[in-house]
């Protein structure tokens, strides 16, 4: 191992000369913690591509990962990190993809298989650290995207419109009722009223933790819209503490029928549509 002051070209030369050994060892190091969750040929293809991009960047003489010569490296890394994040890999498993190259180089220099000055190795180490940070940033961003998507999916999932009886629909609401959700609820309910021809709709708020003026306003608007379409709307699931809070706030539900439980609301709806529920008489 010769110690000399690192001129930029030395590092490029080092990476070019050590390419086969370095990328082989790199793949090996990355493959170990991933334990077969990424197939070997796939990993090899990914890393060989990345290695070529890094080498091209280093050959340009620049050591700034944000500079133009590293554009391809950045694109490849972002893509890789995004895929890892989506596939549920941990941040460590993702970042090791970059940091393992450092270890591969250290090992190689240590065994004196390639000529590497301390300056070159340090410069490359710094470069890889910066690429590692880039990986992490992309990873975090991709995870945030996943969370956003899930939140959106949840919005769709948590507002089912169910048929309780012929002509009676129910919307059980759970959790927080904000403007976006109310819009979804209203649209789904109105669509269901049209498609089923139901004359009664029950909005059940047993699962809503707090009814403030915004929630109440949203509920009132939904009821009004259903009424405009000729359906009768009942709000059910108003528990004692919610009732007291609504009174305290001074919200008036006017002539809207409200019931303590979904069962009461169903009974009310059935009675209104002329169905009487009676207990079957035994021995007849």
């Amino acid at each position: 191992m010769t110690i000399e002051t690192g001129r930029p070209d030395n590092l490029a030369e080092l990476l070019r000369a050590g390419a086969p050994a370095l990328s082989a060892r790199w793949v090996e190091l990355v493959a170990a913690p991933l334990r077969g969750r990424v197939s070997a040929p796939e990993l090899e293809r990914e890393l060989t591509e990345l290695y070529a991009a890094v080498l091209a960047g280093v050959e340009s003489g620049s050591r700034d990962v944000q500079a133009a010569p590293y554009a391809e490296t950045r694109a490849l890394l972002s893509d890789l990190s995004r895929r890892r994040a989506r596939a549920g890999f941990t941040p460590t498993e993702t970042a090791i993809g970059v940091f393992a190259l450092k270890q591969a180089l250290f090992e190689l220099v240590d065994r004196a298989e390639v000529d590497g000055s301390l300056g070159d190795v340090a410069a490359f180490s710094l470069l890889l650290d910066n690429l590692g940070l880039l990986t992490f940033e992309t990873y975090a961003k991709a995870r945030e995207e996943v969370i956003d998507e899930q939140a959106e999916q949840l919005l769709e999932l948590t507002t089912p419109v169910v048929k309780l009886w012929d002509g009676v629909l129910a919307v059980p609401l759970v959790g927080t009722l904000d403007s976006a959700r109310t819009q979804v609820v209203m649209e789904k309910l109105l669509e269901a009223l049209v498609s089923t021809g139901a004359a009664h709709a029950i909005i059940d708020i047993t699962g809503v933790l707090a009814v403030d003026t915004q929630v109440a306003q949203h509920l009132l608007k939904t009821v009004m819209a259903a009424r405009l379409m000729g359906a009768e709307c009942t709000i059910s699931g108003i528990r004692p503490h919610i009732a007291q809070t609504i009174v305290g706030l001074g919200i008036e539900f006017g002539d809207i029928t409200t019931k303590a439980s979904l069962a009461d609301a169903l009974r009310h709806a059935l009675r209104r549509s002329g169905v009487d529920v009676v207990a079957a008489q035994r021995g007849r």
Partner: protein, 134 residues
């Protein structure tokens, strides 16, 4: 014991939900009854939304209070928005400068034990509420 105080920046709709959750956990720690918990949570939900909608965002500070044998929760909402020109009008049921029901501020006052409104036009508004355990 964890810190009996929490500062929550209010800048988006999600923050209103966060305020609600934190107030609820404080109210449980202060051993408020379910009715009182719900009242306080609803009041702070109104005030947090006011901070966001009319104050253009701000900060909520939730604190656990201990006074002898009773415990309580204090929540204060501060913004540097346009302020409230007419406090009496703002506290009137059904009056709103926006598109709400006009019950948030006046309703919140009825739901808590102590209510303090401090506003200066052009400087901002601070609303502080306290609910005690019984």
């Amino acid at each position: 014991m964890s810190a009996p105080r929490e500062d929550i920046p209010i800048g988006a709709d999600e923050d209103v939900v966060r305020v609600r959750q934190i107030v609820r956990s404080f109210a449980q720690r202060a051993k408020l009854s379910l009715v009182d918990q719900t009242k306080l949570v609803t009041a702070t939900s109104e005030l947090a939304r006011n901070t966001l909608t009319y104050g253009g965002g701000g900060t909520a500070v939730v604190e656990l209070l201990g006074e002898g044998r009773r415990q309580g929760v204090r929540a204060s909402f501060q913004d540097e928005g346009p302020g409230i020109p007419d406090l009496t009008l703002a506290l009137t049921d059904g009056w709103t400068s926006g598109r709400g029901m006009g019950l948030g501020l006046s309703g919140a006052r009825r739901l808590v034990d102590e209510f303090d409104l401090d506003s200066e036009v052009g400087r901002g508004t601070t609303v502080t509420v306290v609910k005690w355990s019984r």
